[in-house]
């Protein structure tokens, strides 16, 4: 029983971590009024960069930093297209997804003699037990013997909350997402805020992706990310564009996955096809949304390019 609970919690945390990080990224962008369908691509580029950098430097922390920088760099085209050129934000986000997957797989093939994946990363991030705490039964192994990215994710949730809801920067950022003109009349530079927000989303999604290739996994290939950026987006909406909401939604999703996996260990597949167990997380999410969560209030100006009055 204890083992099972430990299992469920550990898997929950494992699955939720990249979602949390990426959803926080999406949070910044979308709170500032810029839709970010490109999270998937930003994760991909983060996962790729982290893998390659770690392979070269043998230091996963440098890999993590590089993933963040790459995430920022790849958020630039999205920012330029959707903020400066006032392109449709969904379009530009979709283009980012194509671009990131295309470039990263192209480079992998180019760098590693046509291989579809990077070589094995020997210096990946390891679990980091917090002495003492990790001995607590059930929650210890899950929460206090986790990957550094997990601790980082939790930290970032709190920091995001502080930044968005307690600092002038965050207040302005949210104001820009709700009513950019109002923000502008108080002297806030709408473009600068939105740029900052989109670049932050690149940084966080980049770290989220890095976790997939150098913490949970130890290589990069074209299915390393496989839709998790979209799930992070869903978690962001599910969590009503709030840091703790998104944290909860990501955790909920991880928990649903954990339940399905544990079901297999218990031999449930003797009674239901294992495909049905695999569907479970997705169905549970839909049920949760339909049953309890309902309507979510998006930032009022989300998706609308801003046209300043002046030049």
């Amino acid at each position: 029983m204890i083992e099972t609970l430990t299992n469920i919690l550990q898997t929950t945390v494992l699955y939720a971590t990249p979602l949390i990080l990426t959803a926080m990224g999406g949070l910044f962008s979308e709170r500032s009024g810029v839709v970010n369908i490109g999270l998937e691509g930003l994760m991909t580029i983060g996962a790729f960069t982290a893998a390659v950098t770690t392979l070269i430097t043998h230091n996963p922390w440098i890999g993590l930093m590089a993933a963040m920088v790459a995430g920022i760099l790849f958020a630039v085209p999205h920012a330029v297209a959707s903020i400066t050129f006032k392109a449709d934000q969904v379009v530009s986000g979709v283009a980012i997804n194509f671009l990131a997957l295309g470039i990263s797989v192209y480079l992998v093939k180019h760098l590693y003699e046509g291989a579809g994946q990077t070589p094995l990363i020997k210096d990946a991030l390891h679990r980091l037990p917090i002495p003492g705490l990790d001995q607590i039964p059930v929650i210890g192994p899950a929460f206090f013997n986790a990957y550094p990215t997990t601790y980082l994710a939790i930290l970032i949730v709190f920091v995001s909350y502080l930044v968005l809801y307690r600092t002038p920067f965050g207040m302005r950022l949210r104001a820009v997402g709700e009513h950019p003109r109002a923000a502008e009349t108080t002297g806030v530079n709408v473009f600068r805020m939105r740029y900052a927000a989109v670049l932050i989303s690149g940084a966080l999604a980049g770290i989220g992706g890095a976790g997939l290739s150098i913490a949970i996994g130890s290589e990069f290939n074209q299915s390393t990310v496989a839709g998790q950026g979209f799930i992070a987006l869903a978690a962001l909406i599910f969590g009503k564009w709030h840091p703790f909401g998104a944290l909860g939604a990501s955790t909920f999703f991880g928990f649903a996955v954990a339940l399905a996996l544990t079901g297999q260990i218990f031999g449930l597949t003797a009674y239901v096809p294992s495909e049905v167990l695999s569907m479970l997380p997705y169905i549970l999410t839909i049920l949760a949304l339909a049953g309890f969560v309902g309507r979510a209030e998006a930032p009022a100006s989300i998706g609308k390019p801003y046209e300043t009055g002046g030049r």
Binding site: P168, M171, E178, A182, A183, T185, T186
Partner: protein
């Protein structure tokens, strides 16, 4: 001293010269009105002064010193604050958050809420602007929202305040309050530029008026040396009649009957509580009241946009309670909605398509499932001509039309369907006198044709001018009926404020 001097300001937008060499001089401590028709260029001129637009030509001097106002921040530094025509408030934020946005006091990098709230309270006390610093914008009344806008400028230490049509959204009570506030501000040494379409207000509180027409400066006069009629003709360029000539009503049978109606608002609180109302053929019933007393809910319940919780609505004796909007429309109800952008128009549709928003699937506009666009545009062209909707053509998106013309389009659509019962909610909000005159005439025309009209307006003048009977709504009930011919403004105002002699309360 001249605090503001704008000289030869020209501003061009693609296809139009919004400001054509306009001069404006404002003296310290005065309330200076800016008057002009819709689209005359008032907001543009003020946006230039506030740094939102850059003029193509011209010079600005603030406090007798040349100024280059490149953005709202610069304007702020020069002591210029603006209360915009459409509120610039962030809905989910609190009053305090809105006020301090962009100039937040901080402590160790975090917003210092306690200090901010204290400061807001202080300023609002000093100028007599009552607000609740912690309330969320979406939960407070329009009047309070406006006070927040004013506080925003004061918080930034503005000495020159621009008010762009602040009274368009206020009820009479709130307008009085605002006028008091403006007088207070001037006494405290502030200077005010005030845009309004209401001549009465200008005459009441302004010292000077600058009139612009089609982007051009027509003249500046002292209120003491002019009157409403002169101002109106300067503004429009011709004589304007203010009195609507109106025959005595010949009211007939009851068209609309509302009995013991209960409707809840979006927060599930009853906004209409046991309301009774009757509108007869050939009369205009004015529904007067302070905003938020259940007017919107009542109209939405009648038109089927909101469910009635209890009670009955009859049209020509036939029950229409809780019917679908389409059924209500088909049974002969026309509706000029309160919010033209939200409800009245599909802004991305052409004005032509908007003309058949309810009738697109009826003959002759559709044959079976197929739309017949030639017929639609033919019809729209006719309406546009008849109702003087100024638009390049029927294919122009409704979004591109000015507010007045959008409104005329809606009225054309609703009136031309020839409904037995017409609801007109705030039909002239934000429009200039020319357009108002036109719309008023149309409403009376309907009445004279024997139709029943229910007019909801926050403007008492409009109600008094047009109505044959006035119902005053207070807290979801009809607090009393008055005769516009005999009732005084005080009487009505008292009823609207909820204080009345018990006898007048409807049982």
């Amino acid at each position: 001293m001249n605090v503001v001097e704008m000289k030869g300001i020209t501003k061009r937008f693609p296809g139009i010269v919004a400001n054509d060499s306009i001069d404006l001089t404002v003296k310290k401590g005065e309330i200076h009105a800016l008057l002009g028709e819709n689209g005359a260029g008032k907001s543009t001129l003020m946006n230039i002064l506030f740094g939102l637009y850059q003029p193509d030509e011209g010079e600005i001097r603030i406090n007798e010193r040349k100024a280059e106002i490149t953005g709202p921040t610069v304007a702020g530094e020069l002591g210029i604050g603006m209360v915009h025509q459409h509120f610039m408030l962030v809905d989910p934020f609190t009053v305090t958050e809105n006020i301090i946005l962009g100039a937040e006091p901080t402590r160790r990098g975090l917003v210092d809420r306690a200090k901010a709230e204290r400061e807001v309270q202080e300023i609002s006390d000093r100028y007599g602007l009552q607000v609740d610093p912690r309330a969320r914008i979406r939960d407070i009344s329009v009047g309070m929202q406006q006070r927040v806008e004013i506080l925003k400028t004061l918080y930034r230490g503005a000495d020159i305040l621009i008010f762009d049509e602040p009274t368009a959204v206020l009820g009479p009570q709130e307008i009085d309050e605002l006028c008091e506030i403006m007088k207070n501000l001037v006494q405290e040494g502030k200077t005010i530029i005030f845009i309004t379409h209401k001549l009465k207000e200008i005459m009441r509180i302004c010292d000077a008026v600058t009139i612009i027409r089609r982007g051009k400066h027509i003249g500046t006069v002292q209120t003491a040396e002019t009157n409403e009629n002169r101002l109106a003709s300067m503004m429009v360029g011709r004589e304007v009649t203010f009195d609507v000539d109106k025959k005595k009503a010949e009211s007939g049978e009851t068209v609309l009957e509302v009995r013991n109606l209960y409707v809840s608002d979006s927060r599930n609180v009853d906004a209409v509580r046991g309301l009774n109302l009757e509108v007869r053929a050939g009369e205009i019933v004015g529904l007067a009241g302070v905003d938020g007393n259940g007017q919107s809910e009542l109209l939405e319940a009648i038109t089927g946009l909101k469910k009635a919780r209890k009670g009955h609505i009859f049209l020509h004796g036939k029950e229409i309670t809780n019917q679908k909007p389409r059924a209500v429309t088909r049974s002969g109800v026309g509706h000029i909605p309160e919010d033209r952008h939200r409800r009245g128009l599909v802004l991305d549709f052409s004005i032509g398509e908007n003309m058949v928003l309810q009738t697109y699937n009826q003959k002759p506009f559709a044959k079976g499932l197929t739309l017949r666009y030639p017929k639609i545009y033919e019809y729209a062209t006719k309406l546009i001509k008849e109702f003087d909707v100024r638009t390049p053509d029927v294919h122009t998106p409704a979004r591109a039309l000015s507010g007045g013309n959008q409104q005329k389009g809606i009225i054309a659509r609703e009136v031309d369907r020839d409904p037995e019962f017409l609801i007109a909610a705030q039909p002239t909000r934000g429009l200039d006198v020319g357009a108002i005159e036109f719309i008023h005439r149309r409403l009376i025309e309907q009445r004279d044709k024997g139709k029943a009209v229910l007019l909801m307006s926050l403007e008492l003048d409009e109600i008094r001018k047009l109505s044959d009977r006035i119902a005053i709504i207070y807290e979801g009930q009809i607090a009393g009926w008055v005769d516009p011919a005999t009732a005084t403004e005080e009487e009505i105002g008292l009823l609207m404020a909820g204080s009345q002699s018990g006898a007048e309360v409807t049982p």
